[in-house]
């Protein structure tokens, strides 16, 4: 078995604040990330798939197929978007990187059957860099 990982950059803006908390409490928890007009990041998403390389092609997964799956399931929805305003999942969910990863994981899993009909899911893990200094894995 080999794990294949590709990195996909995307840019998005967000604001960290919970509708369940007061403005003051949001400010205490999220600091400048709660500034009302939001702010943005250059994110990088790493998508890993696992499997035995195909004996003919020598690839765990063709790069084009991996790119098309990630592009249509994730990047088209999230790149150059305001997460809170433009992505229904974040209407009530705070778009922290933890929650972004959980939403992206669900999107990729939901889109798998359409891109790889009849194949069991081979998603091995995700990693999200919010900045070069913060990263999250699931």
């Amino acid at each position: 078995m080999t794990t294949l990982t590709k990195r996909y950059p995307f840019c998005a803006s967000h604001r960290l604040c919970s509708g369940l908390l007061s403005a003051e409490r949001n400010r205490q928890i999220f600091g400048k990330c709660a500034n009302p007009h939001g702010h943005g990041h250059n994110y990088t998403l790493e998508v890993s798939v696992r499997g035995e390389p195909d004996p003919t092609s020598g690839m765990t997964m063709p790069r084009g197929a991996l790119d098309r799956w990630v592009q249509s399931a994730v990047l088209e929805r999230i790149d150059h978007r305001h997460l809170n305003s433009e992505i229904p999942e974040f209407e009530r969910l705070v778009p922290t990187s933890e929650n972004v990863l959980l939403v992206v994981d669900a999107w990729l899993r939901a889109a798998w059957p359409e891109h790889f009909p009849g194949q069991r899911i081979r998603l091995a893990g995700l990693r999200l860099e919010e900045t070069p200094r913060n990263s999250f894995r699931c």
Binding site: M1, T2, T3, L4, T5, K6, R7, Y8, P53, T56, S57, G58, M59, T60, P62, R63, G64
Partner: protein, 139 residues
């Protein structure tokens, strides 16, 4: 304890399979299938595992690991056209997956002989793609 040593080599390759048509190769491998080849600055991360020696406080001597990687990998791969100059890539497609497996085969016995175990070979083909192989036993 896990210890990782990183090394770089530059090499060219073509990814296409003789058992597929030119069209199928282009569809599967894209620009990687162009017949004259192209190159990458590969980065390989070799991770070994072992117990810390009670006397010298090390799993193994990193000098020895560096030398084994140089002799068994870099001297073979660096500044070569993989399909023409490095076995088994005259018959096996030199994808990142197959290169990582070949590096594993070249290093595994030597690292065993040093009293440690090879844990993983991570091969970066570019800044945006890497593969990791942990041996046939890892399943």
């Amino acid at each position: 304890m896990l210890i990782t040593r990183k090394a770089e080599f530059s090499a060219s390759h073509v990814c296409s399979s003789p058992s597929l048509s030119a069209e199928e190769n282009l569809r599967l491998f894209g620009a990687e299938s162009r017949p004259h080849g192209h190159g990458h600055n590969y980065v390989v991360e070799v991770t070994v595992s072992g117990d810390v020696d009670a006397v010298h406080g090390m799993v193994l001597d990193l000098k020895d690991l560096k030398q084994v990687i140089r002799e068994r990998v870099l001297d073979v791969y660096d500044h070569r056209f993989l399909n023409r100059e490095v076995a088994p890539f005259e018959r096996v497609v030199p994808t990142a997956e197959n290169i990582a497996q070949d590096i594993w085969r070249r290093l595994d016995p030597a690292i065993d002989a040093m009293g440690a175990s090879l844990h993983s070979v991570r091969l970066h083909e570019s800044g945006e793609l890497f593969v990791e192989y942990r041996g046939a036993a890892a399943g």
